[in-house]
Amino acid sequence: MTAIAVSTTINGDDVEYLCQPDETLLDVLRNRLGLMGTKEGCGTGDCGACSTIMDGRVVCSCLVLGAEAQGRSIETIEGMAQGAELHPLQRKFIEHAALQCGICTPGFLIAAKALLEEKPDPTEEEIRFWLAGNLCRCTGYDKIVRAVQDAAREMRGEAA
C-alpha cells in the first residue's frame, strides 16, 4: 500500500497529510491530526459520534475515506467555538444539562449546527428526525432537543 497525499481544509485552515488508501477520515482526524474531539462509537455510520461537516453537509467521518477529503472543506468540533467564545449550541448544551457522559456531544453539536444553518426555526419533529442518526444513551434526548430549540431561538435573535 502506498500512502496518498491529501490537501484539504479543516476548520478553515489548510492541512496536508498522508494517509493509507483504506484509511477513514475519522482515523485521519484522530490518529494523524490529533483532532480527537471527533469520536468513534461504531465505525459503521450507525451512531453519529464521528459527525463532521464536509462541504456543508454533515457526514459520518467513519464512512469517508481520508483520500476523499482532497480539495474539500471539513469542519470538526474543534472548530466550532470562535476562539474563546463558545457557539450558542455549545453554551446551550451546558446550560440545559444536555449531556451526561458527553461522548455523543461533539457529534450532536456538529449535526445540530448543520441543521440550524439549513433550517433556523425547526419544529421539534424536524429536530428529532434530523438528529435520529446521533445516538445518545444517557439523556433520553429530552434535554438535547430543548438545548437545540433554545440555541435556535437565540441564534434567531429571539428572547428565550
Partner: protein, 287 residues
C-alpha cells in the same frame, strides 16, 4: 488496496475493466466503507467516480431527470422540480439512513449494493426508472429492476458502472409513493418496502399502475397482479383489498432478525394499500 479518482468515464471503465477481481466503485461509500470495516473484506481497488464531470449533478432533458451516480440523496429533496415530479422516489431515497448518511449515500449505490431491502429501489422500479450504464463498449441503458439479481449481485458486467439514473418526466394525473416498515422511526433497514405509481384518467380511474415490493424476496419484486388489481378501478375498498392480497401473495420473504415471514407478507399488503392511497391522491384522484 489502491484508491483511484478518475476524471473521465473512459478512465473509470478502463480501471474497472483491467482491475483485479476485488474492485469496487465508490460513490457515497455508505455501504462500501461499512464492508471495509469487516476484517474478512479485502478490496484491491476502489474507484471513486465523484470527480467525473456530471456525476454529482441532477440535470434535466426535455423528457427526463438525469440523476448522476454520485448525487447524495440529500440533494434530491433540494431539487424542487424533481420533488414535484417524483415525490415517492425522493421520499424513498430520503429514508435511507440518517441525515449523515443522506449527505453521502446515492440512489445508484443503493441499487448496486443489491440489497433486497434498499429503500429507493422499489420506488424507482414503480417509477419505471432506467439506468445509464457506462462500460468498456460504451453506454447502455437498462430498467432498474433488471440490475439487482440476488442479494449482493447485480447484472453489471466487468468494467461497467452506473453513470446515472433516468426518471422520465411524468404526464398529468400521475402520482407515486413509497412506504416502508421499520421497527423504529429511523435508522433501520426496511422490513417491508412498497413503491406505487399510478396514472389516472379524468374520471379518477386507474389506467396504469406499477407496484414494487422490497425486502420480501431475494430482489425487488414488480408485482403485475397487484397492478392488475387496481387498474380499471377508482381505488375503492375492493380494489385495495385485492391489491393488498396480491402483494401479500407475491411476497416470498424469509424469517430473519428483522422480521418474520408472516409479518412481512401481512405488512406488504398493509403498506401497499396505504401507499396506493397516497399515490392516488397525488395523481389527483379523490376517494
Amino acid at each position: 488496496m489502491r484508491y483511484e479518482r478518475p476524471e473521465t468515464i473512459t478512465d473509470a471503465t478502463a480501471l474497472l475493466e483491467n482491475a483485479p477481481d476485488r474492485a469496487f466503485v465508490l460513490a457515497g461509500g455508505t455501504d462500501l466503507l461499512v464492508r471495509m470495516q469487516n476484517d474478512d473484506f479485502e478490496a484491491e481497488l476502489v474507484v471513486d467516480i465523484k470527480s467525473i464531470a456530471g456525476m454529482t449533478e441532477i440535470s434535466e432533458t426535455q423528457d427526463a431527470f438525469v440523476v448522476g451516480a454520485g448525487v447524495p440523496c440529500a440533494a434530491l429533496s433540494e431539487n424542487a422540480a424533481l420533488v414535484a415530479a417524483w415525490p415517492g422516489v425522493v421520499e424513498a431515497a430520503n429514508l435511507i439512513g440518517s441525515t449523515q448518511i443522506q449527505g453521502r449515500c446515492t440512489m445508484a449505490g443503493n441499487l448496486c449494493n443489491a440489497s433486497p431491502a434498499a429503500d429507493s429501489v422499489p420506488a424507482l422500479v414503480a417509477a419505471g426508472a432506467q439506468v445509464r450504464i457506462a462500460g468498456p463498449s460504451g453506454l447502455r441503458t437498462a430498467a432498474v429492476e433488471d440490475v439487482p439479481q440476488s442479494p449482493g449481485k447485480t447484472s453489471l458486467k466487468k468494467g461497467e458502472f452506473i453513470e446515472a439514473i433516468e426518471l422520465a418526466k411524468p404526464g398529468p394525473r400521475s402520482g407515486d409513493a413509497y412506504l416502508r416498515f421499520i421497527p423504529r422511526t429511523e435508522m433501520d433497514i426496511a422490513v417491508v418496502g412498497v413503491g406505487v405509481r399510478l396514472v389516472l384518467d379524468d374520471a379518477g380511474v386507474v389506467t396504469s399502475a406499477r407496484i414494487a415490493l422490497g425486502a420480501v424476496g431475494p430482489k425487488v419484486l414488480l408485482v403485475k397482479e397487484a397492478a392488475d388489481a387496481v387498474i380499471g378501478t377508482g381505488l375503492d375498498d375492493a380494489a385495495l383489498d385485492a391489491l393488498a392480497t396480491a402483494c401479500s401473495d407475491a411476497a416470498t420473504p424469509i424469517d430473519d432478525k428483522r422480521g418474520t415471514v408472516e409479518f412481512r407478507k401481512e405488512v406488504a399488503g398493509v403498506l401497499a394499500r396505504r401507499a396506493a392511497r397516497i399515490a392516488y391522491t397525488r395523481a389527483g384522484g379523490s376517494q
